[in-house]
Symmetry: C2
Subunit: 341 residues, 2 copies
């Protein structure tokens, strides 16, 4: 009987060819211990002979597991995506998830419409879990997600109470201290700060690090810092403001490389030399930026690849119902010296 069926082989076909039952074949595929060596070999042979691949839908139907996780970026301002930082996160996510053989379903949510769609989708059981990037204050999405019976790992601290949430953060405050101490060690006396938007925890933590390193009170901080909104243009403007407010400044810690690029432009326009007149330290150590500014940017490295890898590992543990020792992890940051400070 020449069964030249062109359709994809099923587990039934594999079992038939191996001379066992479907059940046994299934056990082999799922690495069950209760199967004889002969059966195991026969089934494996049949699998590769037939080029068998389990039908994901059928498997999902019975196991109630989809083998997919959502990667969600909640960001009201779509143009923020021009920040290469996002590309790096997405790349890291794709790699880490592929390594553990789970599908990555990417969701970008900008509008309330997107939020509703994300809600439906995540509630719909289409994924086993989610990695959520939602940095902004009072992001509706976070409250939505929190109510869902879905394992979730956050990137960084979302706004609000952190009780029970799983997250992997970078040591923003520690990095900011590093940066500021470095400027101090250079003998700089008038150090200012271009912060990120203060509706993001990472920006606040960096600001706090700056404040701590200089032992500033709230009033002092207010005078020495300006919000650059994590954009290049914002960085440029914030730098001009600071320059006019304190013409004698001799160092600046900028809370992101992209803003630092803008700040450098502003400094050049004002005729300041970097690092001779003003020393500059950025944050992110995003190579595509930091190595191409003039001069190359000294920056605090946060390893996004590592962060995402940890997030994926953490989520996988949750999916396997393993107990995680610590729900909230913090990754170290280091200073990378180049020429700007």
């Amino acid at each position: 009987m020449l069964v030249s069926n062109h359709a994809r082989p099923t587990l039934e076909d594999v079992a038939a060819r191996a001379g066992v039952s479907r059940a046994t074949a299934s056990r082999v595929l799922n690495a069950s211990p209760r199967v004889s060596p002969e059966a195991l070999e026969a089934v494996n042979a049949a699998v590769s002979a037939l080029g068998y691949q389990p039908n994901r839908a059928a498997r999902a139907l019975v196991t109630r597991r989809t083998g997919a996780v959502a990667v969600v970026f909640s960001e009201p301002e779509p143009k923020i995506f021009d920040d290469p930082h996002f590309a790096r996160l997405i790349r890291a996510g794709a790699r880490a998830l592929a390594d553990v053989d789970v599908q990555m379903v990417l969701m970008l949510v900008h509008s309330p419409d997107d939020q509703a769609r994300a809600h439906r989708f995540l509630a719909g059981g289409h994924v086993d879990g989610a990695l959520v990037f939602a940095p902004h204050r009072n992001d509706e999405l976070v409250s939505i997600v929190k109510k869902l019976p879905l394992p979730v790992v956050y990137a960084g601290k979302p706004w609000g109470p952190l009780r029970g949430m799983h997250l992997v953060d970078n040591d923003n405050e520690g990095g900011a201290v590093l940066a500021t101490e470095h400027l101090k060690s250079l003998g700089r006396k008038k150090i200012v700060h271009v912060s990120g938007p203060l509706d993001e925890m990472s920006a606040i933590d960096r600001l706090n690090g700056f404040k701590a390193a200089l032992s500033l009170d709230d009033k002092g901080v207010a005078r020495l810092t300006e919000d650059g909104g994590f954009t290049r243009e914002g960085g440029r403007k914030a730098m001009s403001v600071l320059l006019s407010r304190m013409p004698s400044l001799d160092a600046v810690f900028v809370a992101s490389d992209l803003m630092a690029a803008g700040a450098l432009e502003s400094l050049h326009e004002a005729g300041r030399r970097v690092p001779e007149d003003v020393a500059v330290v950025g944050f992110d150590d995003h190579v595509a930026i930091a190595e191409h500014t003039a001069p190359p940017l000294t920056s605090v490295r946060q390893d996004s690849d590592e962060q995402v890898k940890h997030m994926v590992e953490h989520l996988m543990k949750l999916l396997r119902d393993e107990t995680v020792k610590r729900k909230q992890q913090m990754l170290p940051t280091v200073l990378v010296r180049r020429e700007s400070a």
Copy 2:
């Protein structure tokens, strides 16, 4: 009987509540015409009362449709992803696919390992179709994908024979002509070209446009052009080479904005003023770059959002078994003037 089952409601529950059979409920969900208005309303009411969501796995099992499509980027050099162009494509893909309510499964393939994985995955019936970005010459992935019984739409022309392939390309050659003609119309006489890597069709097409606009033969082209590899650093180096080869050049058409940024650096270092001494035109019109170079970059716009949207529409037609009038679409490019030329 208080059925306070906390599990997700099934179609059976909906049908029971609406007082119809499972079959009828199903037809309502799938917008079948053969259903009475009363039944339709009853079912819809039950659906929203119960918050019912179809089980994707069960549906996939019977329809042999997954409701997901893969978005595949094949790119041997992972750092190319730092190009904001990719972020833009991914963003566009996420949006366009969400709009038609299909899952976007993102795959980044760099290594042969990744290729094998992609092969297994795409052959495994886990997605209904794919959007493929594989610009490089002799990319193994393209041959792999071509053999699969899977609807695929390519971004741009992959290398090799195009017969029967579905693709959406930008008018690279036309755009290059536009750029070069513009430089000519400015009265420039010694126009050179920084090309992309010539193992990508888009780079070749842009080179051909340059060649055509100047009526050059192969020998002439060789002398006037230099490969910048689509990277910033490459653009810088290519520009230096061209400057030393032809110090009197007065205009350059650069095949990408990122390379143009590098070329500008090189020109500045060489003490050339832009646009007074050398006029510069880029390609891509990537706002995050073009608006932030000094001076802002005149560039050829290729609308990636539009391209991806067309790709998605095209793929959807294939999935619906509609006939597509043209398998290969070409999108127009336009010149955006800023200050560099």
